[in-house]
């Protein structure tokens, strides 16, 4: 049996993507749709006094105008559910305004131009209330929740941090801030809904097909078997497409009403408020250490935004509990309940911003100890999980740091800030560790022999750019001993077997393990002489005891070299390397792409990305791609990612861990530490822009 799993083969959906043949939610055109446009609220808190839609209704081509006064009845929203993304999501169901940009009306017209124009003509007057918008001044709306959004305790305490801080040889006590951020996937949230007799099909840009199916069916009060969700191609998710939004619900309602296909796409500007975002955070990190670098205390406290409209507790400090050894420990997550749009998961919720603080604090400690930051990390490598006292399933952080240091030429780094000047540029290097929780979810897969030598795989899993199509073809090909080209992979239909979808980096492992199980069962029957044609097998995966007995994480080490302009303070990334331990790699080519993509997101968090909030109005200000800065080609030089050869037998039958989020974890801190090494500016408020560097240069 030839080895196929892990091989760096080209994506099997590559040709469709480079020819424009891959069909995304807004591309579905078989039945020419009519167009919906959403109008949104211009206040953050209060209620609608009156809506005048008469002018909109008079526009040529307008088929329907809905506001809270005449929108169809829908199932009511519920505050809590086991699967938050499966909850009803009623639209235009009340005159109450809970956040700026909340949808207040839908127009459907025969053309996009007419719908857009009519939506702009809807005149709304409001009763404006006093909202709470300021994270750091939320008063009684500052809360201490019991659990984070993944169900872990929001706080933990071991020993006495205060005492250790007083008695340590050195200590660090600093506060770091991270801004609001938006996913800004290239594909705006889009839905094309088709009503056929008594059945509704919604093509939508969503990561979790099963949850979307439940959400849309319940909201529209339709029997689940009468609803089909399709998401064959998704133009980026990053967590922002875990839920569905008003576009999907309103397209579905309007298609049923008008008995014709309806397409609703959010504008780039609407995405900032209508969809989830990453909440801003304020994080205090305290570290104490002995003279030799042995940590005696680690404390990490965060305050982050949640919304009055729905609760989300980002697990910002959770992985801090497992990264380094120290006898005295404290973590706590608090939230401020604000009248802002609802925050949610964005690529590595928790670690992505938690490590921006913690891994910069570790660097600050290394400076105070006059110790190499890699040596400091090696010194505090724990033998088992420092708070749970259970073994790690695998842990190769040390190897990631050491191999990375060799490859990057870390020994050429001058620890003295500002010591390496090359012409106009002050050049520096930084390092940071990556850690990301590893998860497995219940999944099912179906595989069918369509002929003696060809097979078809079916799952309601999605491929949001991660490479799902390709790794599943590899798993089936290797297990059934047929060529990759002989495997057809069908994903993204709610009628296919249930999977957890794409999120939390659990997709490849959960669905891949279920598929492996299905293929092994099928192969056993084929070997017994059954079939082959038409022979089908179902497979399953679910987290077992090993998720309780072992602490499961993926790891990595980031190395960044930056140049800081000696006069202007401008920062340019010069090169970057990440070395990762993510269990068995399922496709070396697509995994590398995922890791590099994550690392560049880290660079973006460190240097560019920020969604400023207008505290007067409770609205985000950088709502388009001109003002919301993400890296472009010119910002990104050589970025390389390497992986260790690993197999985590406790993780799942494939031995794999997720790679989609690992790359961002810690990457931004490596850049921040490189900026310090380059020029001596220690910027604790992300992103690290020129205005924050200049004071250190003069």
């Amino acid at each position: 049996m030839a080895t196929v799993i892990g091989m760096p083969i080209d994506r099997i959906d590559g040709p469709a993507k480079v020819t424009g043949k891959a069909i995304y939610a807004a591309d579905v055109g078989a039945d020419k749709p009519v167009f919906g446009a959403i109008a949104t609220a211009t206040i953050a808190y209060g209620s609608i006094k009156s809506i005048d839609a008469s002018e909109a209704r008079r526009q040529p081509g307008v088929l329907l105008v809905w506001t809270h006064e005449n929108a169809p009845a829908q199932a009511p929203w519920v505050p809590k559910a086991e699967d938050p993304f499966a909850r009803p999501k009623p639209q235009l169901d009340s005159k109450k305004i809970q956040y700026y940009g909340q949808p207040v009306a839908l127009v459907v017209a025969t053309t996009f131009e007419a719908a857009r124009e009519a939506a702009a003509l809807i005149d709304v007057t409001y009763e404006k209330g006093e909202g709470v918008f300021d994270l750091e001044n939320a008063g009684k709306d500052t809360k201490t929740p019991k659990q984070d959004n993944v169900g872990k305790p929001a706080a933990s305490k071991v020993g006495d941090v205060d005492m250790a801080m007083r008695t340590g040889f050195v200590s660090v006590d600093e506060t770091y801030k991270t801004p609001y951020q938006n996913h800004n996937q290239m594909e705006p949230h889009a839905s094309t809904a088709i009503w056929d007799g008594d059945k509704l099909t919604v093509h939508c840009a969503v990561q979790l097909v099963e949850s979307a199916h439940a959400c849309i069916a319940t909201t529209l009060k339709l029997p689940p078997e009468k609803v089909e969700i399709v998401a064959e191609f998704i133009g980026g998710g990053f967590g922002g497409k875990l839920p569905v939004y008003g576009d999907a619900i309103l397209a579905g309602l309007a298609a049923r009403e008008l008995k014709r296909p309806v397409r609703v796409v959010l504008t780039r500007q609407q995405m900032a408020h209508v969809t989830t975002h990453r909440g801003a955070s304020v994080q205090r990190v305290r570290l104490a250490a002995q003279r030799d670098g042995t940590l005696t205390a680690i404390a990490h406290e965060s305050l982050a935004q949640t919304a009055r409209a729905d609760d989300f507790v980002e697990p910002i400090v959770a992985s801090t509990r497992s990264l380094y050894a120290a006898p005295n420990r404290f973590t706590q997550q608090r939230t401020a309940v604000l009248d802002l749009p609802i925050p949610g998961s964005m690529r590595a919720p928790g670690e992505a911003i938690g490590l921006l603080a913690l891994e910069q604090a570790i660097d600050e400690l290394a400076v105070k100890l006059d110790m190499d930051p890699i040596a400091l990390r090696l010194k505090n490598e724990p033998k088992d999980d420092p708070e749970k006292h259970i073994p790690f399933s695998t842990r190769n952080l040390v190897a990631c740091l050491q191999q990375g240091a060799d490859r990057f030429g870390w020994n050429k780094r001058n620890p003295k800030p500002g010591a390496n000047r090359q012409g106009q540029w002050l050049v520096g290097m930084g390092v940071a560790a990556a850690i990301r929780g590893n998860f497995l979810r219940k999944a099912e897969a179906k595989v069918t022999m369509t002929s003696a030598k060809t097979a078809t795989v079916e799952m309601d899993m999605t491929d949001i750019g991660t490479g799902s199509y390709t790794i599943f073809a590899q798993i089936a090909a290797e297990t059934l001993d047929i060529p990759v080209e002989a495997v057809t992979v069908k994903l993204g239909h709610s009628s296919y077997p249930d999977t957890p979808g794409s999120g939390g980096s659990f997709g490849a492992s959960s669905c891949g393990a279920a598929l492996l199980d299905a293929c092994q069962k099928l192969k056993a029957r084929l070997d017994k002489g059954e079939g082959p044609q038409g022979l089908t097998a179902m497979g399953k995966a679910a987290p077992g005891d090993d998720y309780k007995k072992y602490a499961q994480f993926a790891y990595g080490a980031h190395f960044a070299e930056v140049g800081v302009d000696a006069d202007t303070g401008e920062v340019r990334l010069r090169r970057m390397l990440g070395v990762f331990d993510a269990g068995r790699i399922l496709n070396a080519k697509t995994a590398r792409s995922q890791l590099i993509g994550g690392m560049i997101w880290g660079v973006s968090s460190a240097l560019y990305e920020e969604q400023p909030l207008d505290l007067r109005f409770g609205s985000f200000m950088s709502v388009d791609l001109a003002n919301y800065h993400v890296p472009v080609h010119a910002d990104i030089p050589s970025v390389e990612a390497a992986t260790l050869k690993e197999f985590d037998r406790h993780a799942n039958a494939l031995g794999s861990k997720g790679v989609g989020e690992l790359g961002i974890c810690g990457a931004g801190a490596a850049v921040a530490n490189a900026v310090y090494n380059a020029c001596g500016a220690r910027v604790r408020e992300y992103p690290i822009t020129v205005d924050k560097i200049l004071p250190a240069l003069s």
Binding site: R11, A114, M186, E187, R575, D624, H633, A634
Partner: protein
């Protein structure tokens, strides 16, 4: 790699936008071609609709459209050519890049009615039948995308960029503007900066373009 000392968009607070079209042919009455392709469905005829002929991927299309219709929406909603993507509708992302007479352009910034008489090529028109354009093949091999949403725009932009290099058009990083520019890493990064890839496939996109443009400019 040493970095040149340049003021970038980050410092200036401005946005890089794909090369704008210049020297657009003046509007003229175009004779109706014989082999007119019908759109997948005619748009409703508002009083103000404009009749127009668009030459897309070598085929003539006769359309009657709302004059506000952009070239992007005409391609996607009226001609069924959905390979060209709408990422922002404001000229800020490059996902909608097409080739107009060989020059790359953001189709969301151009009204369809103003493109009569132009030769429009979209991602659907690059391949030669089943045979992919070398730029397309190169993108697949280099894994120059993840979700694929920015990809049609990146590829059209890259093909347009190769044409610019061939014509000797300098960029902001060209040191000697009198010399013929080559497809160097710096030139490619600079010239492709109007095409955002949120999946951040940038290193692979640059590798794909360099592989496909090798020899084109020498």
């Amino acid at each position: 790699m040493p970095q040149k000392h340049l003021l970038t968009r980050r410092l200036l607070g401005t946005t890089a936008v794909a090369t704008a079209m210049t020297g657009v042919a003046a509007r003229a009455q175009i004779p109706q071609p014989k082999d007119v392709q019908t759109a997948i469905a005619p748009a409703p005829s508002f009083p103000g609709n404009l009749d127009m002929n668009l030459d897309v991927n070598g085929r003539q299309h006769r359309l009657s459209l709302d004059p506000r219709t952009t070239l992007l929406d005409a391609l996607r909603d009226h001609l069924g050519l959905t390979g060209t993507k709408k990422g922002c509708d404001h000229g800020q992302c490059g996902a909608c890049t097409v080739l107009i007479n060989g020059v790359r352009m953001n189709s969301c910034l151009s009204l369809a009615a103003s493109r009569e008489g132009d030769k429009i090529v979209t991602i659907e028109g690059l391949a030669d039948g089943e045979k992919l354009h070398p730029m397309q093949t190169s993108f697949v091999h280099a894994d120059a995308f993840q979700c694929g949403f920015c990809t049609p725009g990146q590829i059209c932009s890259a093909v347009g960029m190769a044409n610019e290099l061939k014509r000797g058009v300098p960029s902001a990083v060209t040191i000697d503007v009198a010399a013929a520019p080559t497809a160097s890493v710096d030139e490619v990064r600079e010239r492709m900066s109007g095409n955002i890839c949120r999946c951040s496939a940038y290193p692979n996109i640059v590798a794909a373009i360099l592989a496909a443009t090798e020899g084109v400019t020498k």
